[in-house]
């Protein structure tokens, strides 16, 4: 199996190179065609027209777009992402600080979304045909109709203000210091340093943003899993299991679920990509210091080096995620390994 997986990853890597190049070109051209002047945005009072021209030259904004792109690409190839116009710090540092946070958020959202979606999918299957199932299905439709950022605000109002169960800004309770940076992931670093208090606080602060992100995923997973389970339930081996006298819960968990979960895994792969997009507004609403927040700041300030780099990072993340889902798919579906 390892060989099949390696072959798949190799192929994915090969396909990823032109994809990343195409995305980089698209992002670069779009940003250069917008009539903006990041140089003027970054100059203070006291600057003169000559200062502006000099800064534009320093930033390479006076060069033809093709030259600018090639220079940028050359810098990328040598691991140089440039300096942020707004933050005046290396873009690599900014991304390195924000990326683990966004990964934590997306992974937490995925875990919550998949867990609740699968649990509810099984409940829906178990209640099939009844009024409760119809109500649950209707609730799913309603949940899907509400965008993530609105869920964020609703969750803040309900679980943050009306019933103040959970914190909704920051990453830790006041007074708690962030643990020493090992991986850059707050929760992982809390685990590695054995700081349970920080871990607990980080989990509580993560709950609402992760829930807001997960809300769109739950009904989708629920419905796809329910549909798959209904299909699988007609299979001969399920009938055989019933004839053997196995309980319904055992049939569901041991036999039906394993085979019904494949379409759900595909769906999760697609939805996880969208989740990265959802982090933009969620991170702003919850004051979460991830890539989304960084991107919003960069767009507001026309921080071209940051916008370009973060867009590329998103692209790479989505490609990596798709590859991971395919590996998972391959792992749980033996039939695919021979194709």
């Amino acid at each position: 199996m390892a060989l099949v997986i390696l072959r798949l990853l190799g192929w994915r890597l090969l396909v990823a190179i032109p994809t990343v190049l195409a995305v980089s070109l698209l992002v670069f051209i779009v940003l250069r065609l917008i009539p903006t002047d990041p140089a003027a945005m970054s100059l203070p009072p006291g600057a003169t027209a000559e200062d502006l021209d000099r800064l534009r030259t320093e930033m390479g904004l006076d060069l033809p777009i093709a030259s600018q792109y090639l220079i940028w690409l050359g810098d990328l190839a040598t691991g140089q992402f440039g300096t942020s116009i707004f933050f005046r710090r290396p873009v690599a540092d900014l991304v390195a600080a924000a990326l683990p946070n966004t990964l934590e958020l997306v992974i937490s959202g995925l875990v919550l979304g998949v867990s609740f979606g699968m649990a509810l999918g099984m409940v829906l299957f178990a209640l099939r045909g009844g009024m409760a199932a119809q109500m649950l299905d209707l609730a799913g439709s309603a949940i899907m109709a509400i965008p993530e950022f609105l869920w964020g605000l609703l969750l803040i109002i309900v679980l943050g203000v009306s019933i103040p169960l959970l914190p909704f800004f920051g990453r830790l309770d006041p007074g708690l210091a962030t643990p020493d940076r090992i991986t850059g992931s707050l929760m992982l670093d809390a685990v590695l340093t054995g700081n349970i208090q920080v871990l607990g606080s980080a989990l509580r602060h993560m709950a609402l943003p992760a829930m807001a992100l997960a809300m769109g995923l739950v009904p989708l997973v629920m419905r796809v899993l329910r549909a798959s389970l209904l299909d699988v339930a007609q299979e001969d081996y399920i009938r055989m299991a019933r004839l053997r006298g196995l309980s319904e819960s055992r049939i569901l968990l041991r036999h039906a679920l394993r085979n019904a979960v494949l379409p759900t895994v595909s769906l999760i792969g697609v939805q996880a990509g969208f989740m990265f997009g959802g982090t933009l507004l969620i991170e702003v609403i919850f004051g979460y210091p991830g890539l989304g927040n960084l991107m919003v700041d960069a767009v507001r300030n026309q921080d071209l080096p940051v916008i370009q780099t973060v867009a590329l990072v998103y692209c790479v993340l989505v490609l990596a995620l798709n590859a991971a889902v395919e590996v998972l798919y391959l792992t749980i579906n033996p039939r695919l390994r021979s194709t």
Binding site: P35, P38, P44, E58, I85, P164, F169, G175, Y288
Partner: protein
Amino acid sequence: MIKTRRDVLKLGGGTAALLGLGLPAQVLAQAAANSGQITVAYPTDVPTWDPNARSLAPVQSLYKCVFDQPLTQAPDLTLQPALVTDWVFSEDGLALDVTLRDDVSFHDGSKMTSEDFRYTFFERPRQEVPEGQRRLDTSFLWRKVQEIEIGSPTQARMVFSEAMPTAVTWMHFLCSFMVPKAYMEDVGIAGFLEAPIGTGPYKLVNYETSSRLELEAFADYWGGTPTISRVTMDIVRDPTARVAAIESRRADAAIDVPIREASRLGNAPGLTASIGPVTDITLLQLTNSGGFSDARVRLAAHRAIDKSALNQAFFLGNAVAIDAPAARGTPGYPDDLEFGFDTDIALALMAEMGHGPDNPIEITFATTNGVFPNDFEMARAIAGMWAEVGINASVEPIEASTYQERLRAGTLPEATMYQWGNTTGDPELYAGYLLDPNSIFSAFKSDKLGEMITPLLVEMDTDARFAGYRAVNKEAVEAGDAIGILQGVKTVVHVTDLNVQSYENGWILPHTWSA
């Protein structure tokens, strides 16, 4: 398998129990303002911990928690000594002698001296920057400084290449913060950004980009140890989340809360709202082009704007209407200027041009959308007022960065809604930038205004300088070269137990608060 309603309830109960186990009891309690420790929901973060790097008005308050400026301002904008106790210009205005306090320590315990002053305002701004890096903003602000001569640890003389009457003003504006020479040279800029120290009232003890600043009172602060011993600044960018933060009492104060929410929360038990005008201004940047190439149209446009109605509709009457591009009460604002809302005069001016509501002049009116409170909505309201006198304005949103590009290229439309910040109140930092045709920030290029402003840039007689700017502002309004709209409004909602000091320039300085 779930067969009965009881099974469903069991499943639900189990899920709830699992969720509950993960939530410690402490989160069930509302956060309350602990004596000496507060949490503030603040709308913006610092871009960098180098306080000399960026000149951004919204973050000046955050820097002032950790760093000090040579001078400062009282809540009513009165100039006050800070690290510098005395300052005297030479007669020709080419030198400024300053006396520094001798009891100031940086957070690492080292003493502040005139060497630090020289380093901050002369050496650092002139340092070579590595390729790909940007110069410090202080290199632009203090470009006229030719040398800083050290007289003693507490005496220094700034020598200018040209008279700089606003040198004193710049000593309490934007990024003019004192930094420690020895420490910066020891740890380097990377080390400084990791562990910044200043002479300010608070030490930065914990920082997470875009999320939180934790500040601890500096016991040896020259101005006395702050009453609030620990301040957590949570960066909450979304205004709705800031409302929720104070409403749930997870924060003890929330800054820049939407005005209607601030008004509502101010009536809630245990909360107090402070809503007041500040020195930031909203104005229309005009161009002498298209439908606005005739001064009569611009004057009619100004007459047609009912600023009182805008104030009432968008700021619940808490803003202050302005005619000139300056805050009322500041030295450059002409007290005798009352341009006034008068649609009859506006109609008459338009009629002179052969235009009116039935035969309108077409113009484009650009506005930012969401950059400052109610910008787009106010622009639409103004367009509605203009339509009544015969100016048909097509309202177009413009990004802040696009505005800069079009300003530089001279392609801004007839009018653009814009906000300008100036915490000092100094007229040069209003009209001197907004109306001087040589400034990269001015949209309206008037030779006459240029001739009036140029000598004021080096005028060392303060009274004459202020009088000159009052004349500039009056001329600009009466010639239809400028349209002031309203002063900005600052909102702070806080728990009633917290005494919050309001500043007319909008500064948020927790070291002046008490619990």
